[in-house]
Amino acid sequence: MKKAVMPLIMVVLLAFVPYVAVQFAGLGFLFGVIIPYVAIVVFIGGFIYRVVDWARSPVPFRIPTTCGQEKSLDWIKPNRLESPSNFWEATGRVLSEVLFFRSLFRNTKAELHNGPKLAYGSSKWLWLAGLAFHWSMLVVVLRHYRFFIAKVPGFVQLLEDVDGFLDITLPALYVTDVILLAAVTFLVIRRFQDVKVRLISLPADYFPLFMILAIALVGVLMRYIVKVDVMSVKDLMVNLVHFNLALPEGIGALFYVHLFLVCVLAMYFPFSKLMHMGGIFMSPTRNLANNSREKRHVNPWNPDSKFRTYAEYEDEFREKMKKANLPVEKK
């Protein structure tokens, strides 16, 4: 629990900063214009830097983790997804990880019973919550394009309609809002409840969870309960993406809390574990084909190694080899 307190305090403080600054110090321009620009530059720049930095380290060996039958003899059916034998199958494998969390789907739970006896049960809650969280997050982010683009694009409108299909509450309740909050809550509770995960969790693990929770809660609050003037908010956002530095009047302070937390999260992103978003595509145990014996993989720094040659070996053992009737090179 102790490890969760620090990030919780951090998030609460971060939420108060813009509230006070805008409400009482009139720093709307700083929080509405300057910080968002800084955030997007840091986010994009940092993200690209990290990915390029990874890419600069070579992959010396082809080391896929094979989770299925290799392609070998004609009459043995290979597992094309779990033991891909070419680039396209490996691409399929990566996509199955990115889109469906394939490996997490395998998850099991080990239990130690008296005997002693180990038993393994299926355990898909983490997979379900993880998948629900990430997909909802994606939809929520895409939905927000309606605030940035003057003429709302068709796909955003479609997402809105589908997401709000239940048509309860006013404005219509987004299903993804509910799923997102539920999933993040599950992920937080899981970190407390599963002692293994609790032990390995760092404040750096709670921080982004609390941030996302806070951002989502403030967002939900603005949409359903404490209204802000959407027209002005949209004006601000459209202004920002067109580098028009005008700050519209009369946007509620709650909005600045939402925006500032998003900016902080975006700036924190490239320097944190959240980079798994880019990293998952680059994992050498998943994105390489299991065809190491078929096609040679080149290691750019393959070291010169001086090994003990046969000649050196024979020099040491020649007499013994002769006695054992072994053929030798030098008589």
């Binding site: 039958q69 180990l118 290691n299 046969y310």
Partner: protein, 549 residues
């Protein structure tokens, strides 16, 4: 009972009564607040100074993990940090895996050492955190303000002790990597950890002595050429005694079609020797034009457990010898880590092997397209192809005295993906094959607990714990299907599983797959077979003999 083994009653009691993370008890100390404790059975003897010197590794000296002072060289902190930086630049896997873990905990209960010891630091994620915590310390300012935020810590001798302990409680089996949503492979972390430790002379004699031996004599056991030949010839005599068929292995013969390389354990140690006999009988039966080298007389590669450079150096002999002898291609025996190296590293390290030809089975005409570049074929692929084409005369009833199950070795399953071939062969040479539970086989297979160079006697306590999940799965089929024979295709398995079975499942014996092939093989001109290779009576055949009498 081996000297360093825990008393079984005490270990059982510990499993059942001691609170553990696995059973949902939160420890009273945080991860890095628990000190490491070296006691009998949980540490390997450090390498002898002359061996460290011989292979050119750092800091040869007399020391012991139980010492307070490990006599680390001056400036060791810098050596480690520079070594880490160098490896971050050379291995994307290392860099990426340190960066992207989200500590979701999916790997936590997948490690056999965690399941067997309950030690929190044996959770794969925690094992990686041992290095990650030092890696993160690159931002000391941030860490000062937000103390403990990202779990960074200073590099101290205590950290090195921790690394030594826990990078030898990982067998690089990759089971965690199967479950990780990002494919983070603790084997990569452990390899780097061990490389770093070697930079400052923190090592393990059980790994370095074989490395030194292999370099000089060609094999881990340090067997010189004449003895190597003698031993195989005595196995040939055993075959003749048993079956009446003469097998004539050749050594270092130029112009042979195939160079056969297998772990030296198969040549010298029980029960591996029976597998060796199986290979020789098979080759005789099909009239294979092959030779065995005394120079490249080791399939395994303990260098792989020290550093990439050493792995390359030891592995280089295979191609070097193949070129000298002018063979067409290579055939490799049953081994785990050998095949990790051959399948995923050899061609990259020591290829391209342009002087060899794409492997074609001389009997079936099958072209092994999957080995087109490396030009080395696994014996089980080779045999499966022979059986498929009806080239072998087999009588599976000859293995009716055994009730079998199959242990996938980690490297074969998760570093190569050869899952069906051994099952196909096994089903063709015996009638009694029963699978262990599905979460313990194929890509989810459990390690024997002693891989990656820790199969030494003084490490028995840890080995028996680490092997517990495997033993537990065997016990399941033992109770359910009366299984008494554990079949493997790995030399380390054959060396270590007998001790594990004796401890947890007495009555279960360990076999190599080709030992069973040898039992079932109906050879031309053979005597009536009534005993298997271990001179155990075959079921059903003994009676016939008596009737005839």
């Amino acid at each position: 009972m081996p000297k360093f083994a825990p008393k079984q009653s005490e270990l059982k009691k510990e499993f059942e009564e001691k609170p553990s993370l696995l059973k949902g008890d939160y420890p009273d100390k945080e991860l890095f607040d628990t000190p490491v404790e070296f006691r009998d059975g949980n540490w390997c003897y450090p390498a002898k100074p002359e061996i460290v010197e011989d292979i050119g590794f750092a800091n040869p000296r007399k020391w012991s993990p139980t010492d307070e002072d490990w006599k680390l060289p001056d400036g060791w902190e810098k050596t480690i940090k520079d070594g880490m930086k160098d490896r971050l630049e050379r291995f994307r896997s290392f860099k990426l895996f340190l960066d992207i873990c989200v500590r979701c905990g999916a790997c936590a209960d997948k490690c056999h050492f965690f399941l067997g010891t309950g030690d929190p630091k044996n959770m794969p994620v925690a094992r990686a955190e041992l290095i990650r915590s030092v890696y993160r310390n690159d931002f000391p300012l941030a860490e000062k303000i937000l103390k403990g935020f990202s779990g960074a810590r200073k590099l101290t001798p205590e950290v090195i002790k921790e690394w030594h302990m826990y990078f030898h409680q990982c067998t690089e089996c990759r089971r965690c990597s199967v479950f990780c949503p990002f494919g983070i492979d603790t084997a990569e972390i452990t390899m780097m950890g061990r490389e770093l430790l070697h930079l400052i002379g923190v090592n393990n004699n059980w790994i370095l002595e074989p490395v030194s031996n292999c370099n000089r004599t060609g094999n881990h056991l340090g067997i010189e050429p004449h003895t190597f030949v003698q031993n195989i010839e005595s196995l040939a005599e055993d075959i003749e005694d048993l079956t009446g068929v003469t097998v004539n292995p050749t050594f270092n013969r130029k112009g042979a079609e195939i160079l056969f390389i297998t772990p030296s354990g198969d040549v010298f140690a029980e029960p591996g020797v029976y597998t060796m006999m199986g290979y020789m009988m098979l080759f005789e039966h099909i009239g294979l034009d092959y030779t065995i080298s005394t120079y490249a007389s080791e399939g395994g590669n303990f260098g792989f457990f020290t550093s990439n450079e050493m792995a390359k150096k030891l592995n280089a002999k295979m191609y070097h010898e193949a070129e000298r002898l002018g063979v067409k291609w290579l055939l490799g025996g049953e081994c785990g880590h050998m095949w990790r190296v051959v399948h995923q590293y050899m061609d990259t390290m020591n290829g391209p092997a342009d002087f060899l030809e794409q492997p074609v089975s001389p009997l079936t005409g099958t072209t092994f397209t999957n080995a087109a570049s490396t030009k080395m074929v696994h014996i089980v692929e080779f045999t499966a192809d022979l059986i498929r084409h009806g080239k072998l005369k087999l009588d599976p009833k000859r293995n009716d005295h055994l009730r079998t199950t199959f242990h996938d070795s980690c490297n074969i399953a998760r570093g190569m993906g050869m899952l069906e071939e051994p099952r196909y062969v096994l089903n063709n040479v015996c009638n009694t094959f029963h699978e262990m539970p599905e979460n313990t086989i194929r890509e989810q297979t459990f390690c024997c607990g002693s891989g990656s160079g820790i199969n030494t006697e003084e490490y028995m306590d840890i080995r028996l714990r680490g092997g517990f999940p495997r033993a537990n799965a065997v016990r399941h089929v033992k109770e359910k299907h009366d299984v008494d024979s554990l079949v493997t295709i790995c030399a380390i398995d054959r060396a270590t599983l007998p001790a594990l079975m004796n401890y947890w499942n007495p009555g279960v014996s360990v076999y190599g797959l080709h030992e069973l092939v040898g039992n079932a093989l109906v050879m031309e001109g053979e005597n009536k077979r009534t005993e298997d290779m271990r001179e155990d009576p075959m079921a059903g055949f003994q009676d016939e003999v008596e009737d005839e009498d």
